[in-house]
């Protein structure tokens, strides 16, 4: 039984205020009789006093046949908090776009109430449903119930991490390709790579339907697939005038914010030089009733973004400026496999693809993945003259050819 008399004066301060409280959430589950949640409150209160965490590295724990999907976690105060001595996390692959029915949510809750702490993250940073806290013995039974209900584990460790996508065509007029389908298709195609770590380090896919990039793919995924178009922005001039009538300063706030100054407003109609538009989305964001992306849509594919560890943070770099995004997404799959081949052979332990690109140079990397260099890949050409040439002529070169 949970000890409702536990004193947590510091955490109690975090039950106050207008934003929903995580302490209240842990408390609710402690009150439901989850001993682990009660002890978690005790351990956390102690961290608040000592200003230091009390969790240790994970050991190798998991479910049979998988090398990822479970994060081992142990308390360093096992005697005092035995109910959370083991407190492992399961990552459960979320449905595309994080859509659920109430029944599906209740199914996950039922499983987790039977086998774990009842605590979750909806959702983790990569996108998975996070089931937070259980013991080693409960891992396999939890997995059995999840799969019996059509859920599977996501990625962890040096594998394909759980791909994620924005809401896409399900509820957004700006989706330039079907992010939900692409995400599902790629996830299914790479189940082996997702569940059995065989890479130098992690590899993330993120699918955003337009350049607003609601899943932050350009900052957070080794392969960023960002929707775009290559024809004209669709304009409804009547609706443009309605925005102006409603008080929008189109000259200043729309044309003035256009990064390439490819728009003009004469007080009656807006004119766009689409050949000079860089698809930034600002005008469309500001006037969703009047402007829409074109109809010849696809995606820009970029590679290499990551957080700082270890060689510094990176944004993704353009590899394919425009790719039609249609099932079965062979362009994405082929590119991923070529990258993995090179990375698998040349990547160092814990080296992300973005770091490999920096280390070998983008030019060499492109050669290795068999992609031709084009000016869209750089912000500007090199400004240093130290060019590496791999070959040079010697006296007599070419004579043999002439003789033949």
């Amino acid at each position: 039984m949970a000890d409702s008399q536990r004193s947590t004066p510091m955490l109690d301060e975090l039950k106050k205020g207008p934003w929903p409280s995580f302490v209240t959430q842990i408390q609710e589950m402690a009150d439901e009789g989850k001993e682990a949640c009660d002890q978690l409150l005790g351990l956390l209160e102690r961290s608040y006093h000592e200003k230091v965490g009390h969790w240790k590295h994970g050991g190798i724990v998991g479910v049979m046949g998988y090398g990822g999907g479970v994060i081992g976690r142990y308390s360093d105060l096992q005697q005092e908090y035995p109910a959370i001595a083991h407190f492992h996390t399961l990552r459960v692959n979320q449905p595309s776009g994080w859509f659920y029915t109430s029944d599906a949510l209740r199914t996950v809750c039922d499983i987790w109430d039977r086998h774990g702490s009842g605590l979750t993250n909806m959702h983790g940073s990569t996108g998975d449903i996070i089931l937070l806290g259980t013991t080693t013995a409960e891992l396999e039974p939890t997995f059995a119930e999840l799969t019996a209900n059509d859920f599977d584990l996501g990625g962890s460790g040096s594998n394909v991490r759980t791909p994620s996508c924005c809401v896409g065509p399900a509820r957004c007029e700006w989706a330039c390709y079907d992010t939900l389908d692409a995400c599902y298709n790629i996830t299914m195609a790479f189940q082996d790579e997702l569940h059995r770590p065989a890479f130098p380090y992690k590899f993330k896919f993120k699918f955003s339907g337009c350049p607003n990039d609601c899943v932050a793919s350009i900052a957070r995924s080794d392969m960023s697939i960002i929707g775009t178009w290559r024809d004209e922005i669709r304009i409804d001039q009547d609706e443009v005038r309605n925005y102006a009538k409603a008080g929008m300063n189109i000259e200043r706030d729309i044309c003035g914010n256009c990064p390439t100054k490819c728009m003009a407003w004469d007080g009656n109609e807006i004119e766009i030089d689409d050949s000079n538009c860089v698809k930034c989305m600002h005008c469309i964001n500001a006037m969703p009733k009047a402007l829409r992306p074109g109809v010849d849509t696809g995606a820009t594919v970029l590679l290499g973004s990551k957080a700082p560890i270890v060689e510094g943070a990176q944004l993704s770099s353009v590899i394919i400026p425009f790719l039609k995004m249609e099932p079965p997404y062979e362009g994405i799959k082929d590119l991923a496999e070529r990258v993995w081949d090179f990375w698998g052979e040349h990547g160092k332990n814990r080296e992300r693809v973005g770091e490999l690109m920096q280390r070998v140079g983008l030019g060499n990397f492109l050669e290795a993945i068999e992609v031709e260099p084009i000016p869209e890949m750089v912000a500007y050409p090199r400004d240093n003259p130290y060019v590496f040439y791999e070959e040079y002529f010697e006296e007599g070169d070419g004579e043999e050819e002439e003789e033949q």
Binding site: Q25, E32, L40, S96, F99, M122, C166, N349
Partner: protein
Amino acid sequence: MATDRRTDIGPPHYERFLPPIIKANYGKWKYHEILKPGVMVHVGESGDKLFTVRAGSPRLMGTKRIRKFAELADKYCGGHLRFTSRHNCEFLLTDQANIDPLIAELAELGHPVGGIGAAISSIVHTQGWVHCHSAATDASGVVKCVMDDLIEYFDGTKKLPGKLRIALACCLNMCGAVHCSDIAILGVHRRPPKVQHENMKKLCEIPNVVASCPTAAIRPAEVNGMPSVEIDEELCMFCANCFSVCPALPMADALNDGISIWVGGKVSNARSEPKFSKLAIPFIANNPPRWPEVTSAVRKIVEVWAENARNYERLGEFIERIGWPKFFELTEIEFTKQHIDDYKYAGLSFKRSAQLRH
């Protein structure tokens, strides 16, 4: 073991969870409008209307609360809901009359509605002391305090010039990938790892540990007749990569751990290109349970931006227009040696022109 063990089935297909109105209008939405804070309508080519109510969440949720959300979805949304990339819960309605009763029930449950458009959305964050071994600060607690303090910018009581995306990561691993946020709150260690020589041999592979250091500060060494490592502390930049591969090199240190604040990043391509967040405040000591120095520092930055920025201007775009010296002046943040980059490509961040405001 039974032969019917299912593996590699992947996630359930999303179509099973889409509401009928979405199936009918999939890929055929025409436009959307923000009706009021936290409420928007999407209108299909068909004329169908889908209403979304966005509720804030603490991310860490018990099954009891999730069941409550499911009940609300049954009552108001035909059993359909979704979550956003920033941990908000979105209720999907077809009957406009259900919006206000739903908001009232959410309020009673303690979930404010907001975060759409020119507003702060929920803070993307990590596990912190709740569940992480490498945290330099708590995550959920700091987030709770910052959101409590900025709630009027979430629920629409106060207006902002543009979107405000705050993120928190409790160490440099950045599970929350906070490095492209308008405001990033980042836990930092400031003391080199304390080598547990007696554990080194049983917990760590020494060549791996040596190779893990980006500044080559770790060398193999024999200590008390046992193989171990020594650390050149002057070369340590507190990345904790060594601790990630070797538990015998703990970084956490109550006296020296704390929080740094970074500003001006974005991931959207709107107007200006995506950009990294830059250092505003190198260090604020951990001060649980309410971290008042962090909340007031964040509030000050938000208020300076809200007061001075132009329409649509994100924090980073605002700073680029007024210049960094002006940003430090307006926010009254001290500029220090730590603000000047000294890692790879550091020179690219130096001011290399005479274009200055005097």
